[in-house]
């Protein structure tokens, strides 16, 4: 593998040259054909209803991260379409999930995003349930006929499994075991040790498009120089694209280097974005004497040395590429994770309860706290000041009223604005369906898998 695009013929498809079979290695190609799907999948209530019946109940859905519910009694809610789930840590350390619906009259039993409790009391008539979902108390029980409540109705449980610090639920209970269903190579998620990171920020904003329009824009880096031109000096937009089984996929994005498309007039003139990334790695850009094509490699070396000095053991288990790059990882159907040595950005594309042209964009930021004055949060993570990085205080979910611009940082705002225009355009009578190219292979792979659920193949 060359250290920079200009050291080799730089073209797509990109192959970083890592050994086949390794986590970084290029996955064997999958032929998903060249079909052009009907764009109605992005806006009709009929297609949305089909997803509600045939997709969501049958897949594993990311409902929580273990970092958010570390101790017995800790719980968090996950709202998905018209459903809502309570995900709670049990006394024995396991995790259970329940529909957040009181068996008495259906009221939402728990009405706060997260917390820690001994029991859940429904605010309507104070029926009380343990963290294990079991009924503990019916107020005025003697006024109920035993035929109605003799079976001691508790909260309805949802099948729950945990992998690599991620908590998944499966509504119909018939999905294959999570590990079998997970399309990523064995050890891929575990390598980042997400269970030892802290959840430091969680935002939920309403975006004006179908949830799949959201998935699609984040599933390719083809749009980077056009929607996010400011990233050209510090991120390479040609990615290694890997397709895995069951609709999963990954793209490796090089961070800390000028894009191959970005003109280099002076090989010692560094982009401001790269300077920031050098500084984040502990290199003073004012005294840096490397050339533009050496920055990514030097960032890797600096991070490796710093990790050794500070005793950050997790870095030993990551490749050099993982220290500098983003492994942008898609979990079918509605999650994409930007995986980095310092932290993981989890993006969840959550369908709206009733409107196929709205979705909720969840951004959950996991961060590995390093308690050392010589270690700072990477600037590009765009974390607002004042966040508790230690894991001591669990943050509330930040929300914005519908229509109000969310405070999610300038790069994500560019995507936020873009999806509205995409959504409006793909409804046009003149639009015949998406023409996905090779850089967009992950999108085709995702839709192909979606169709397997909706067509009854899966």
């Amino acid at each position: 593998m060359g250290s920079h695009p200009q050291d080799q013929e730089f073209k797509f498809p990109l192959d970083l040259g890592a050994p086949p079979g390794s986590l970084e290695g290029r996955a064997p190609p999958i032929d998903n054909g060249l079909d052009v799907p009907d764009p109605s999948r992005y806006y009709t209530p009929e297609f949305m209803a089909k997803e509600c019946q045939q997709l969501w109940p049958r897949v594993w859905i990311l409902a929580a991260v273990t970092a958010d519910i570390r101790e017995p009694g800790d719980f968090t809610l996950y709202e998905h379409g018209h459903e809502e789930f309570i995900v709670a840590r049990q006394d024995d350390g396991s995790i259970k999930s329940f529909y957040n619906s009181c068996p008495h009259r259906g009221n939402r039993v728990c009405q706060t995003d997260r917390g820690t409790v001994d029991s859940f009391t429904c605010p309507f008539h104070s029926w009380k349930f343990g963290c294990d979902g079991k009924l503990q108390e019916i107020v005025d029980k003697e006024t109920f006929n035993a035929k109605l409540v003799g079976h001691r109705p508790g909260l309805s449980e949802v099948r729950t499994e945990v992998l690599a610090g991620l908590v998944f639920i499966n509504m119909d209970g018939n999905a294959p075991p999570l590990k079998e269903w997970m399309g990523l190579p064995e050890g891929y998620l575990e390598a980042y040790e997400m269970d030892t990171m802290n959840l430091v920020r969680h935002t939920r904003s309403e975006w004006k498009s179908n949830w799949k329009t959201g998935v699609d824009i984040f599933y390719e880096s083809y749009h980077l120089p056009h929607v996010h031109p400011q990233t050209q000096g510090s991120i390479e937009e040609f990615s290694q694209v890997d397709l895995y089984k069951n609709g999963f996929g990954r793209m490796i994005m090089w961070f800390g280097i000028k894009s191959h498309r970005h003109e280099v007039e002076d090989e010692r003139e560094l982009d401001e974005g790269v300077k920031i990334m050098l500084r984040d790695a502990g290199i003073d850009p004012d005294f840096y004497d490397g050339k533009v094509h050496e920055t990514r490699r030097d960032i890797q070396v600096a991070k490796r040395e710093r990790a050794k000095r500070l005793g950050i053991g997790s870095a030993d288990r990551l490749t050099d590429g993982q220290l500098s790059d983003g492994w942008i990882t898609g979990l079918f159907p509605n999650v994409q994770m930007g995986m980095h040595a310092e932290g993981v950005f989890i993006m969840r594309f959550v369908p709206h309860a009733t409107d196929p042209e709205r979705f909720y964009y969840d951004n959950i930021l996991l961060y590995r706290h390093v308690d050392d004055p010589n270690y700072d949060v990477p600037t590009w993570m765009a974390m607002p000041d004042g966040l508790d990085l230690t894991g001591e205080t669990r943050p509330e979910i930040e929300r914005w009223p519908s229509g109000e611009e969310p405070g999610i940082g300038p790069v994500l705002m560019q995507d936020y604005e873009a999806v509205e225009h995409i959504q409006r355009g793909l409804r046009s009578r003149g639009f015949k369906g998406p023409l996905w190219g090779e850089q967009e292979a992950r999108i085709r792979h995702f839709h192909r898998e979606l169709d397997r659920y909706l067509d009854g193949e899966k």
Binding site: C110, R114, S119, E392
Partner: protein, 115 residues
Amino acid sequence: MTAHRRPVARLADLPVDSNKAYKLDGHSVLLCHTKSGIFAVDNRCTHQLATLEGGRMRGNHLFCPKHGARFDLRDGSTVGTLAKAPIRTYEVFLEGEDILVDLSGADASMESKKP
């Protein structure tokens, strides 16, 4: 000012990570001992008026044991969307092993003053 300080409990009665309610002038006041100090607040949740005693604590936060409403013990402010109004806080002092509460000051800084 010191006339309003009332001895309420002994330190030994209130281990770290516990809370206990005391009746003071007809007021139910909750003493909360967290790792960062001792705090005194009204023992009544502003969400649905449940007693807060027995609620779990994390960092500087207290969770109502009934519906999970969350409050910052330092100033009584709400965290999250469930409770709309803050809980009242009282200033806490330590004299030797005695925990004293000043019932007159409701809005002053509530960080406990450890010797």
